[in-house]
């Protein structure tokens, strides 16, 4: 997921061709207070005009407790982005957005529930309540962890090593897995440190997060390479599913591959690996 500033026409025009799976057109932190109106209108016109069909199109609106947030939702939802990213998310704000989207979809003749929400968890309260935040709306398809604002809220230093967000990553990854939505890691903010980015991405993946946000197009390739299953992992996963299907045909309850028992967790992991390989174009659909 690549963040792009919402008030920059050059970047908006290029956003869809930079290789990211999703782009986030940002109306919040990347836009100064005096340009909120301008960015909102520019993003609306960009959505109406530019072909973003190759990527998931996300718009980060301003927090709903500011004067800008409700205006953003009302204007942007009417041109139907795939998803809205709601900053400083808590249950109450997600419910407010959900209600607004119900009304807008009905007025515009869009399919009910078709505009999705990603909750940006970046406060201590939001983090502790993340499970309920996800359940606050059926529109929620994922959670993005905002490490910078979260550590600021916690009054602690943000470091490259990221030990200070270990708990937050675990909490978000677990809640998202439990409720079957995506969990997206915080961006790595040093855009010149690619080794650090690779380590940080690998750490997020090892804790169960399913994706990572980027703030520079140069970060996309490394993030993809870390999250992509290797050829060996894909081959193994396909073999697991093949053995499982064969066992099912033969009516066997239990099966094994290379001397190791194949049970439900192994099968689930293989299914997830194959699904990821397909979504990244590494396997035929």
């Amino acid at each position: 997921m690549l963040f792009m500033p919402g008030n920059n026409p050059s970047m908006l025009q290029d956003a869809a061709i930079l290789g990211a799976d999703s782009i986030i057109l940002d109306l919040e932190d990347a836009v100064s207070l005096t340009e909120k109106d301008s960015a909102r209108i520019l993003v609306r016109e960009a959505l109406k005009t530019i072909d973003f069909s190759q990527v998931e199109l996300v718009v980060r609106v301003n927090p709903m407790d500011t004067e800008f947030g409700p205006l953003d939702v009302d204007m942007i939802a009417r041109v139907k982005p795939d998803t809205l990213l709601i900053p400083k998310a808590n249950e109450e704000q997600i419910k407010i957005v959900d209600t607004m989207l119900d009304k807008i979809e009905a007025e515009e003749g869009y399919l009910a529930g078709s505009i999705k929400i990603i909750a940006l968890i970046e406060t201590a309260l939001g983090l502790e309540n993340v499970y309920n935040v996800i359940q606050a709306s059926n529109r929620i398809v994922g959670v993005l962890l905002g490490g910078e604002d979260l550590t600021s809220d916690l009054g602690i230093e943000r470091t490259k090593e990221g030990e200070e967000i270990f708990y937050a990553r675990n909490k978000v990854a677990t809640a998202c897995r439990a409720l079957k939505v995506d969990s997206i890691d915080t961006p790595f903010t040093d855009t010149n440190d690619f080794e650090g980015l690779a380590k940080d991405t690998a750490k997020a993946k090892s804790l169960g997060l399913t994706g990572k946000s980027a703030i520079n197009p140069r970060q996309i390739e490394i993030i993809h390479s870390v999250f992509s299953p290797t050829e060996a992992e894909l081959k193994h996963a396909l073999k697991v599913l093949e053995v499982m299907q064969q066992a099912e045909k033969e009516g066997k309850g239990v099966c094994s591959l290379e001397g190791k028992m194949i049970d439900a967790p192994v099968i689930n992991r293989a299914r997830n690996t194959v699904a990821l390989g397909r979504s990244l174009g590494l396997l035929e659909r």
Partner: protein, 87 residues
């Protein structure tokens, strides 16, 4: 509808356009356009600006536009922002 203030929107960065609007004494729409692609696209830029002004129902307006290669969607957005700021 008439505007009451002088207002600006946009920037002079590439692919953008800086629009300044002010009230005009007449009821006409007056446009001063500078563009790095004036020869090739001057007519189109002018048409997009005037279409947006008409769409918003504004009369008696002077528009100064400095274009740095903006696409139509950017031109329309910047004109709309400038007019809304000027009302």
């Amino acid at each position: 509808m008439r505007i009451t203030k002088v207002a600006k929107a946009g920037t002079l960065e590439s692919n953008d356009i800086l629009i300044m609007v002010m009230s005009s004494k007449s009821d006409r729409v007056e446009l001063e356009l500078e563009s790095i692609v004036l020869q090739q696209f001057g007519d189109v830029i002018e048409r997009v600006i005037l279409h947006k002004v008409q769409e918003m129902g504004v009369e008696g307006i002077t528009i100064k536009a400095q274009d740095k290669g903006a696409l139509d969607y950017t031109i329309g957005a910047r004109v709309e922002t400038a007019i809304k700021r000027a009302i």
